[in-house]
C-alpha cells in the first residue's frame, strides 16, 4: 500500500486557483520569530526535545498513512499520531508511556488507534532526531486556531557521529504546516503564502525519511525479500546475489532477536535462513561443492538452534485460540500450560541469545560474509570442476530447477492415497516449500501476474499440508507437556484434562486436513495449473 503523501515537487498553486496538491513540509531560512511575524502568527517558547519515531519493523503505521512521533524533553513529553500526508493530528497524548504491543494497549485511544494496525507486531524505534521546536499558532480574528506551523531545527541524531564524521548541521529549519480540521482552505492559503511571501521551499520528503535509523527506509519492510534478477545473468552470480540479499534480511532482523519486541523478528530471520538453505540445496553444479559442503550443514545447524524457540512462540501466539477451541474448560485450567510454555521459552531464548553473542556465531557470520563477498568481485577463482552450470544463464537454470521441483511434487503427491501414513505428507510439505522458495527467489524473471496465480495454487496446497503437520506437532507436544505437568505435584487434574482436550482438538483438525488433502492436491495438479506453470517458464517475461 502506498503512502498518502500529497507533497508536490513544485510550489503549491496560489490560493485563488482550484484545489490541487498542497505542500505541508517546507524548509526555511527564517527564524521562528521572523516567520511568525510574516504570517501574523504567535510563536510559543522554543523546546528542545529528543524525538523518536515509532512504527512496526514492517512499517504498518506508515503504510496506513500514519506516523507516531514521541517527543521527550525537559519541558515537554508528548506522543502524537499524525497523518504522514499533512501532519494532521489524529490524537495527542501528553506525558505517559507509549505501549508497544497490541496486547499491552490499554482501553482508550491507544487501543482504538493502533490495535487494528499493529496486529502481531510491536512498535519499535525507527527514527530519531534532536529537535529544537517552536510552535507558531495561526489564529483567525476571533482567536480560533486555524493552523499551526511547527518550526523545527533538526540537530544530529543520537545514532550519528559515532565513529563517523559528524554530519554538517543543517543550515535551515524544517517547517511543518498542520491544518486544523475544518480549515483546509485556510491551510491552502497559508501554504501559498509561505512559499510566495515567506520564502519557504516545499519539501517533498516526509521528516521521517530523513530521521530513519538502523538503515531503515520508511515503507520498506527489511524482512521482505526484494530480489531482482536479470535474464541472462550468470547462474552463480544470481545465486550469490540471492544469498547476499537473504543474508541482509537476516542481518536486519538479528539485532532484534535478543530484545525480541515481537515474535516476527525471529520468524523473518528463520524464513531468510530457510530460503538460504534452499538456495544452497539447489546450487549443486553452480557453486563449488566445497562451499556447499561447508554452508549447508552450517546453516542447518543455525536453523536448528532456533526451532524450539519458534515452536514455543507459535504455541504462545495461538494460546488464546486453545481456550476458544475448548469452551468447556474452566477459567484458569490452561494457565499451568501457559506458565510451562513461558518457562520453556525463557530457557530457549536465553540459549539463543547466548549463542548469538558467542565467538562461535560471530566467527560463522564472518566466514559466511567472506564467502559471499569473495565471490562478488571479478577475480573469480578457477573452477574446480564441480560447477559446470556456473556460467549458464540464470533463466535457463531457474526453469530447469523449478520444473524438476514441480515434477517431484506432482509425483510424490500422486502417490499418496487415503491409506498412506503421515510421513509422505510431511515429505510432500517439504517439497512444496522448496518449490515455493524457488518461485519466490526466481520470481523476478517471470510475468508477475502468472507467477501470482501459480503461487496462489501452491499456497492452497501448502496451507493444507501445513495444517496437517502443525496439528500433529501440536498434539504431540501437548502430550509431552501434559507428561511434564503430571510430574509437577501442584498441577490439578482439571488442568491435565484441559491439555488433553486441546490435544484432541488438534487431532480432530489434523483428521479434517487429511480428509481435505485429496481435493486440494487434485486442484493443484490440474491440467490448467500445470499449463499455467509451463507457460510462465516458457515465456519468462520479467516483472509484468
Amino acid at each position: 500500500m502506498g503512502r498518502a503523501h500529497t507533497q508536490p515537487a513544485d510550489p503549491p498553486e496560489p490560493a485563488s486557483t482550484k484545489p490541487g496538491p498542497v505542500a505541508f513540509t517546507f524548509t526555511a531560512k527564517a527564524s521562528a520569530a521572523k516567520l511568525a511575524a510574516r504570517v501574523g502568527g504567535r510563536a510559543g517558547r522554543p523546546f528542545e526535545v529528543e524525538r523518536t519515531w515509532l512504527d512496526t519493523f514492517d512499517w504498518r503505521l506508515w503504510n496506513q498513512g500514519l506516523a507516531l512521533e514521541v517527543d521527550r524533553g525537559p519541558a515537554l513529553n508528548s506522543a502524537t499520531l499524525r497523518s504522514t500526508g499533512d501532519h494532521r493530528v489524529h490524537w495527542v497524548q501528553r506525558d505517559g508511556e507509549v505501549p508497544v504491543c497490541a496486547e499491552d494497549l490499554p482501553p482508550g485511544p491507544w487501543r482504538r488507534s493502533l490495535a487494528g494496525v499493529l496486529g502481531i507486531r510491536a512498535l519499535v524505534p525507527v527514527g530519531s532526531e534532536q529537535v529544537q521546536k517552536t510552535e507558531i499558532v495561526c489564529a483567525d480574528g476571533e482567536g480560533k486556531t486555524v493552523a499551526t506551523l511547527m518550526w523545527e531545527r533538526v540537530g544530529s541524531r543520537p545514532d550519528q557521529g559515532q565513529g563517523r564524521e559528524r554530519p554538517a548541521p543543517r543550515p535551515v529549519a524544517r517547517v511543518r504546516l498542520i491544518p486544523a480540521r475544518g480549515y483546509d482552505r485556510t491551510a491552502r492559503e497559508l501554504a501559498a503564502l509561505l512559499v510566495e511571501h515567506a520564502g519557504l521551499v516545499p519539501e517533498t520528503a516526509h521528516p521521517l525519511e530523513q530521521a530513519a535509523t538502523h538503515g531503515l527506509r520508511p515503507g520498506q519492510d527489511p524482512g521482505k525479500l526484494r530480489l531482482v534478477l536479470a535474464p541472462g545473468m550468470r547462474a552463480d552470480d544470481a545465486l550469490r546475489h540471492m544469498l547476499s540479499t537473504l543474508f541482509a534480511v537476516m542481518g536486519a532482523n538479528e539485532p532484534w532477536l535478543a530484545s525480541a519486541p515481537d515474535t516476527e523478528f525471529l520468524h523473518d530471520y528463520r524464513v531468510a535462513l530457510r530460503r538460504s538453505r534452499s538456495v544452497l540445496k539447489q546450487a549443486r553444479g553452480i557453486l563449488p561443492q566445497e562451499a556447499l559442503d561447508e554452508w549447508r550443514p552450517a546453516l542447518r545447524d543455525l536453523q536448528v538452534r532456533t526451532n524450539a524457540h519458534r515452536d514455543l512462540d507459535v504455541f504462545l501466539l495461538e494460546f488464546d485460540g486453545y481456550r476458544a477451541a475448548v469452551p468447556q474448560v474452566g477459567e484458569g485450567d490452561l494457565e499451568p500450560l501457559r506458565d510451562l510454555l513461558l518457562r520453556h521459552r525463557r530457557v530457549e531464548h536465553a540459549a539463543l541469545v547466548s549463542y548469538l553473542d558467542s565467538e562461535e556465531h560471530r566467527s560463522l557470520l564472518a566466514r559466511y560474509r567472506a564467502f559471499l563477498s569473495s565471490r562478488a568481485g571479478q577475480d573469480r577463482p578457477v573452477s574446480d570442476g564441480s560447477t559446470p552450470d556456473e556460467t549458464r544463464p540464470v533463466d535457463a537454470v531457474a526453469a530447469g530447477r523449478i520444473r524438476r521441483a514441480h515434477r517431484r511434487l506432482l509425483r510424490s503427491g500422486a502417490a499418496i492415497g487415503d491409506a498412506s501414513p503421515a510421513e509422505p505428507l510431511h515429505e510432500l510439505r517439504i517439497s512444496g516449500k522448496e518449490l515455493r522458495y524457488l518461485l519466490e527467489l526466481y520470481g523476478s524473471l517471470y510475468d508477475r501476474a502468472v507467477l501470482g496465480g501459480v503461487v496462489r495454487e501452491l499456497k492452497a496446497l501448502q496451507d493444507n499440508l501445513g495444517e496437517f503437520q502443525d496439528c500433529e506437532i501440536h498434539a504431540q507436544r501437548l502430550h509431552e507437556y501434559a507428561s511434564e505437568l503430571r510430574a509437577t505435584a501442584d498441577v490439578p487434574t482439571s488442568s491435565l484434562m484441559a491439555v488433553a482436550l486441546v490435544a484432541q482438538v488438534f487431532i480432530d483438525r489434523q483428521a479434517q486436513a487429511r480428509a481435505a488433502f485429496a481435493g486440494r492436491f487434485t486442484a493443484f495438479a490440474s491440467r490448467h495449473n500445470v499449463r499455467l506453470l509451463d507457460r510462465m517458464l516458457t515465456k519468462g517475461g520479467g516483472p509484468g
Binding site: 482508550g108 486544523a180 475544518g182
Partner: protein, 241 residues
C-alpha cells in the same frame, strides 16, 4: 464510541458548561471527542436529508483531540423539518453513527425542551447527563424527566437503551438546603446521582468571555476540579467507549 448528552428540561442549569468542560476533559485524556449543539452549517434541511454529514461540518478547536460543529442560526427550523421527515426520531442517531470511525466520545449539548429533537437525542444517546440545581423544585424535575424518558419508550424503563446520570450544578455551599440535598440524594438514588458536583462560581460564567473550557484558563479552581472529577466518574463507568 459513546454518545453523551447534557440535558435538562430547565434552562440555565449548566448544560453547556458541562458539555464544554467534559468534552475538554475527555480530549485531554487522549480521546477523540466530537462536541455539537446539533447546529450544523449548511442548514438543517441538508442535515435532516443527510446530504451533509456531521464529519463534513466538524472543525478543530484549540483543545487537542476535540472537534466541534459550530453553532448555526439556521438550525432553528430543525424541529419543523424533522416533523416532515419519515422516521424523524432516528435521524439524529443516523447522523451520529458515521462518527464512530473517527471519534470515541460524542458530546451533545441539548436545548431545554421536550421536542422531536429531544426524542431524537434519546434514540441516539448512551448516557444522558442531567445537571440539577440542588433545590427541592429542581430535584422534582428529575423525577419528571425520568418519567418522560422511560415513558418515551413503549416497552418501559427496562428497555431504555441509555443510562441517566444526574449531577448537581451551581451548588452554593453556603446554603443549607443545597448542602442537605447534596448529602441525601446520592444515597437515595445510588448509581443515578454522581458524586461530583459543580459549584456556583463566577469562573464558570467567565467561560463565555474566554470562549474556552475552564481548564484552559483557570485550572486548579474548584469549578475546574469539579468538572475533572465528574469526568473521572464517567470515565470510571465507561472506561472503553
Amino acid at each position: 464510541m459513546k454518545v453523551l448528552a447534557t440535558y435538562s428540561i430547565k434552562g440555565g442549569v449548566g448544560k453547556t458548561s458541562a458539555a464544554v468542560n467534559l468534552a475538554a476533559s475527555a480530549a485531554l485524556a487522549g480521546w477523540n471527542v466530537f462536541r455539537t449543539k446539533a447546529k450544523v452549517k449548511g442548514g438543517s434541511r441538508a442535515l435532516v436529508s443527510q446530504r451533509r454529514s456531521l464529519l463534513d461540518a466538524a472543525v478543530a478547536t484549540n483543545v487537542a483531540n476535540l472537534d466541534l460543529v459550530p453553532a448555526d442560526f439556521r438550525y432553528r427550523h430543525l424541529d419543523l423539518q424533522l416533523h416532515d421527515t419519515k422516521g424523524s426520531t432516528r435521524v439524529l442517531a443516523e447522523l451520529i453513527q458515521p462518527l464512530a470511525g473517527s471519534y470515541d466520545w460524542v458530546v451533545l449539548d441539548c436545548a431545554p425542551s421536550i421536542s422531536l429533537v429531544t426524542e431524537g437525542v434519546l434514540e441516539a444517546v448512551d448516557i444522558l447527563l442531567v445537571p440539577v440545581i440542588p433545590s427541592a423544585l429542581s430535584v422534582r424535575t428529575v423525577d419528571q424527566l425520568l418519567a418522560f424518558v422511560d415513558g418515551a419508550h413503549p416497552d418501559g424503563a427496562q428497555l431504555r437503551r441509555f443510562e441517566v446520570v444526574v449531577f448537581f450544578s451551581m451548588v452554593d455551599g453556603r446554603r443549607r438546603l443545597h448542602r442537605e440535598v447534596l448529602a441525601e440524594q446520592p444515597e437515595r438514588h445510588p448509581g443515578l446521582v454522581a458524586l461530583a458536583s459543580v459549584p456556583m462560581a463566577s469562573i464558570v460564567e467567565r467561560m463565555g468571555v474566554e470562549r474556552a473550557p475552564i481548564g484552559s484558563f483557570a485550572s486548579g479552581t474548584k469549578a475546574a476540579l469539579a468538572y475533572a472529577q465528574l469526568w473521572e466518574e464517567l470515565q470510571g463507568r465507561w472506561p472503553d467507549p
